[in-house]
Symmetry: C2
Subunit: 376 residues, 2 copies
């Protein structure tokens, strides 16, 4: 069996490393020539996606057939990111299934469509306006609001916090195309739920994870999230199941939530394995990467049971694999990327007896300067 | 960091798959042209070992230097089997450390030397004679005895059970060179202990594992082994520590024991990751493969704590990866080898609430005909 993945980053790397032990082979579609492919070097076939025909902005059928051959005729194709060219996926869908399906990726790759989907399913999300000008939006939403590019944002990029009328004027002057403006949510906590749906419709949830960001980038996660009532957990799982079933989803889906009091509000969706699920590599019987692969391959899903309280610490800008930081209860995952400030270059997972001890270890890692982003 | 391993089989494969996530790169020395290299294809550099100079039975210095370069100048070299050419290792030792050291591999690759080492350390093993003729040996040992080639035996090959005077005459007629004859032990159970020693001398033990063989081949293991008194466990760990420290060992060492009543007798040693330790991939915080790599790389060892009762079922002669056999509590490891009867082609690990349930699942796997060797 062979699985192809669009993208050559660390998520593709970790999917392949989870699937290779099962005897599954991998191919990677290098769809972004500005991106380095060091992460997946040696783990399978790497092929550039063909150029689009300029006049029609579509793909030549022959070129797609050649790509499919060059990829080693994969049994299915998946993605490591939502920002992929849907026309490419649609063209490849003539040759093998795409998991999750193109419609699911489409719904998650555009913040406007994502908001609409959530609204249709009665899943709470912050009130928003689409392409309506900041001046207009704040009349209903008040200050502060967040403006976000519909398609360009990740790791906090292409987002604008608008706190004052002059911020609003400034934003409107930028003439951003395709954006939403949403009410800024004063949340108590950011959590995420990572779940997986098999081809037969079986669903498994991981524990809720508490996430901490700095400048829009995830710095660390703790699972399970502390002080979340069971009712909230069940609510999150219910929202997840609505989405997975509505989208006839196959694979891992991540939902980021804001916790406000005892209620949840969806921040965003990711139709793929997710940074806030990296802890599952150590803390769960089956990690998110293996379960994504199992779902794609039509296998029974693996148990998502958690084995211990787990922390995940992103190595952001860390120049070398920090081997000295490894303890008997921690594991290192290094991505083989060229070091650069503010770049995620690896992560450390560790288990501990309770969340308090996990937090202490986070502080130690930060103090050891393993990340350019030090946070207490 | 780069690690080179002598051998291109499934153990090399699983060491690489355990080390790649840490950003460590791998090279493999293909020292046996009759062996296929499918197991490690794509996981690193593969280089043939140079031919020996016929007149001196040694290696040309230039050829060894070229090999070391071609391997990508590894930081250290290890082995996936004890039957490696010591002259090759000794020549490579001029370029980087060999782990475990050549003396340790030498001691374990020859049954006569192994017996001597055990005797020197007062570690019980069955009484034996070296190259002394079966007729002579049975005068002291009585019947039955086992004759074993000193260097050629694995998976029950090159072993002869001698039950009668005519068997003894038959064996002596074979004119085997370099063998031992040992008393046949009527054991209650076969168990093994897998342990790891770091460069700084730290030692960690995995749980004792109960092993089941058929025709000399391991078919399945259960960990922890049932009904082993703590005193026996401590005794096994004590023997292990004597050996590890005596040999200044770095990496994983496996000891196979016979349990006879409340006492232990060493069956054999393996200076490498071992089939009876495969269960650690699912059942332990850190698997034997990762801990071997951590030891080689000079890192802190990972926890060997067991997370659940675990079974390991060898897929012997199974033609296809048995994806249908996967349950939520099991994992498949497939080696990508060409299928052949009596060949180990993969294994399944699974966890269960207790040893009884593990045994039931073993029987189900055997009934599903996943192995040519069916055992109840």
């Amino acid at each position: 069996m062979r699985i192809a993945i669009v993208g050559c980053g660390q998520l593709s790397r970790m999917m392949a490393l989870a699937g290779l032990p099962l005897g599954i082979q991998f191919s990677f579609i290098h769809d972004d020539k500005s991106q380095n492919r060091d992460c997946v070097q040696g783990l399978g076939i790497i092929e550039y996606s063909p150029d689009k025909i300029k006049s029609t902005n579509s793909y030549d059928t022959k070129a797609i057939a050649q790509l499919y051959q060059a990829l080693g005729q994969p049994d299915c194709i998946s993605v490591e990111k939502e920002q992929v060219d849907l026309a490419l996926l649609q063209a490849l869908a003539d040759f093998c299934p795409i998991y999750p399906c193109v419609a699911a990726i489409k719904a998650c790759q555009h913040r406007g469509e994502e908001k609409q989907l959530l609204t249709d399913l009665a899943i709470p999300t912050s009130p928003y306006f689409y392409n309506n000008g900041a001046k207009q939006a704040v009349q209903t939403l008040g200050y502060p609001v967040m403006a976000k590019s519909c398609t360009e944002g990740y790791d906090g990029k292409n987002q604008w916090l608008i706190k004052t009328p002059s911020d609003a004027v400034q934003f409107d002057k930028l003439q951003i195309e395709d954006y939403i403006i949403e009410k800024f949510i004063e949340f108590d906590k950011e959590i995420s739920l990572i779940s997986v749906r098999s081809q037969s419709g079986q669903i498994k949830h991981y524990s809720l994870t508490e996430n901490h960001h700095q400048q829009g980038m995830l710095t660390h996660s703790i699972a399970p999230a502390l002080n979340i009532p069971d009712s909230v957990k069940l609510q999150a799982q219910h929202y997840m199941e609505s989405l997975l079933n509505q989208l006839e989803y196959v694979g891992i889906l991540a939902i980021e939530f804001f916790v406000v009091g005892d209620s949840l509000m969806v921040n965003e969706l990711a139709p793929r394995v997710h940074n806030s699920g990296h802890w599952t590599q150590l803390g769960s019987i089956t990690c998110q990467f293996e379960n994504h692969i199992r779902a794609l391959a039509g296998l029974n899903l693996g148990s998502t049971e958690q084995i211990a309280v787990t922390g995940m610490f992103n190595l952001i800008g860390t120049k070398q694999p920090p081997f000295d930081a490894l303890t008997q209860n921690s594991k290192l995952y290094w991505y083989n990327k060229a070091p650069k400030a503010k770049r995620k270059l690896g992560h450390i997972n560790f288990i501990a007896e309770n969340q308090q001890l996990v937090k202490q270890q986070m502080i130690q890692l930060a103090d050891a300067n393993l990340s350019l982003t030090v946070h207490h």
